[in-house]
């Protein structure tokens, strides 16, 4: 058997320790894999638990309310109680539903954010897989999200679910194009599709982050990324897939208990992955926000990259939440017009402008 699969791509103190001390390389690989799975699960489930609470609080404060206040300090263990409630509910499928696809859909939906999390570099050597085709793989894996929603909507045997699923399919397939174009823009600028290389290509001061490094067009690209990724995540203002007022919940109308919790979980892990992607591509990933003054930069570099990374992710998540609780939902035709008549041409122009900037040497290497 070819043992080259067991050669690690990312060095890490714990991983190297296990590799050097466990005699059988296959066993060492297995231990490292389990450690990685645990790490990703902790990030995903922990973030989802926190984010559900944060979302309710942000929403409440935007609307001059307080949000959950009863359970724990300022309602901080409300999400735990909600999760427990959902887990102990009876799981049942509606009459006439395609049972196999009905229960498969939330699991398919959950694969995409987990696979994306594997490719995100959280720190210099804190990454599950450093793949040279990271960005194309993320674009490819995002298709699972569409599949999960379509399956859930189709198999529920409910007109609201079907409508929500189809709407969502059309929306996500359309917006994936502009999201991919923006990511391609970053790949072109960084000269690599590996997320680790994209991050390290932004080392230096704040002005070396891709949002500022490409003069002018970086900020435009960032705004385009915000719009298309919000649509890609099915979050408001582009939540026509759920559209509580018209579709009573869209593709997850018929889900309850654990299956519904999985849909909810996928939504919030998706928020984390997309924010991580934005952080990696535009905000310098785990690099500290250096300002060019040696003393300050040295102090900033003392803080672990993990903390910088999650601080930036937190900022991105806050921006997404403010967008969600500010804007109104467009109609389906308006949504499609926005993508095909505005985002796509602008993104193509952006890509061309990026190529021109690179050719003329306006983007510093």
């Amino acid at each position: 058997m070819n043992s080259s699969i067991f050669i690690p791509s990312v060095t890490h103190p714990i991983g190297d320790f296990i590799r050097s001390n466990v005699p059988i390389p296959e066993l060492a690989f297995l231990i490292n894999a389990i450690l990685c799975i645990i790490g990703i699960c902790v990030v995903a489930f922990g973030a989802a638990l926190v984010l559900v609470y944060v979302e309710r609080k942000v929403c409440a404060h935007v609307q001059c309310r307080l949000g959950p206040m009863r359970l724990g300090f300022h309602g901080c263990i409300q999400t735990v109680a909600d999760t427990l409630k959902l887990l102990f509910k009876e799981v049942y499928a509606p009459d006439g539903a395609d049972k196999f696809l009905f229960y498969l859909a939330p699991m398919v939906l959950l694969t995409a954010p987990f696979l994306c999390l594997c490719m995100i570099p959280f720190d210099h050597n804190l990454q599950v897989a450093n793949i040279s085709v990271g960005i194309p793989l993320i674009i490819a894996v995002n298709g699972f999200g569409v599949l999960g929603i379509l399956l859930g909507g189709w198999s529920s045997n409910n007109k609201y679910s079907l409508l929500g699923g189809l709407r969502s399919g059309a929306q996500m397939v359309s917006y994936e194009i502009s999201l991919s174009l923006i990511l391609l823009f970053i790949v072109m600028m960084a000269g690599s599709a590996s997320l680790m290389d994209i991050t390290t290509s932004q080392s230096g001061t704040i002005l070396d982050w891709w949002i500022f490094k490409a003069p002018g067009i970086g900020i435009v690209a960032f705004i385009m990324f915000l719009i298309s990724s919000t649509a890609e995540m099915n979050r408001a203002p582009f939540d026509i897939a759920e559209a509580e007022q018209e579709l009573t919940g869209g593709y997850h109308t018929e889900y309850n208990g654990t299956a519904f919790a999985m849909f909810y979980l996928a939504e919030y892990i998706n928020l984390v992955t997309t924010s991580s992607l934005a952080t990696t591509c535009f905000l310098g990933g785990f690099l500290p926000p250096a300002i060019g003054v040696a003393a300050v930069d040295h102090a900033l570099a003392m803080v672990p990259g993990l903390i910088w990374f999650f601080a930036k992710v937190g900022l991105m998540i806050w921006i997404y939440m403010m967008l969600r609780w500010t804007f109104v939902r467009p109609r389906v035709d308006q949504l499609m017009a926005l993508e095909w008549k505005f985002l796509l041409p602008v993104n193509l122009l952006l890509l061309a402008a990026g190529a021109v900037f690179l050719a003329l040497g306006w983007v510093l290497p």
């Binding site: 942000v58 404060h61 935007v62 609307q63 001059c64 309310r65 307080l66 206040m69 403010m322 967008l323 609780w325 500010t326 804007f327 008549k341 505005f342």
Partner: protein, 163 residues
């Protein structure tokens, strides 16, 4: 029902189309304005209007215009202004008020008992509006639930009316 009429849009010139297209992009500036409002709200906790009700029971002050149950305006000795005219009884849309008059020593008609049924009262305030003597008002009491139905029927006046 009938078939829905699909309104066909009139064809527009390229110039008009461009005008609309770029006008729409320019008008998206309003999104930033909306965002600035919500961000301002987010960072101003003093705007929060929610009451933490059971916890702040001691300090909670009801809004002055709130209409709780009807009560009789009485001075320190418990005297009221009611003349038992019965206008409030007639103004009440659901018969929650019964003004039972009596006669005092001088033979004049005065208020005997002012019967008020909280369970059928809708707090509309017509009785207060119609009272010519300003003898009743709606108070700020909002914890009106009882475990016993008998508590809903109450006599509002402490003393007989002076007339």
């Amino acid at each position: 029902m009938g078939t829905p009429v699909i309104k066909k849009e009139k064809p527009i010139s390229a110039k008009e189309y461009c005008k609309r297209y770029f006008g729409r992009i320019l008008r998206s500036w309003s999104l930033v304005q909306g965002l600035s409002v919500t961000v301002r709200y987010f960072f101003e906790p003093s705007r929060i209007v929610t009451e933490q009700y059971p916890e702040n029971k001691k300090t909670l002050k009801m809004h002055p215009r709130y209409r709780g149950r009807v009560e009789m305006i009485e001075d320190a000795e418990g005297n009221n202004h009611c003349t038992a005219c019965g206008i409030c009884e007639r103004a009440c849309p659901n018969g929650s008020i019964n003004v039972l008059a009596t006669k005092n020593i001088a033979g004049k008609k005065v208020l005997g008992r002012y019967l008020y049924r909280l369970d059928s009262c809708t707090q509309c305030g017509f009785c207060v509006e119609s009272c010519p003597f300003g003898a009743i008002r709606m108070n700020q009491d909002f914890e009106l639930s009882r475990t016993d139905k008998a508590g809903f029927e109450m006599i509002l006046n402490k003393k007989e009316g002076q007339g």
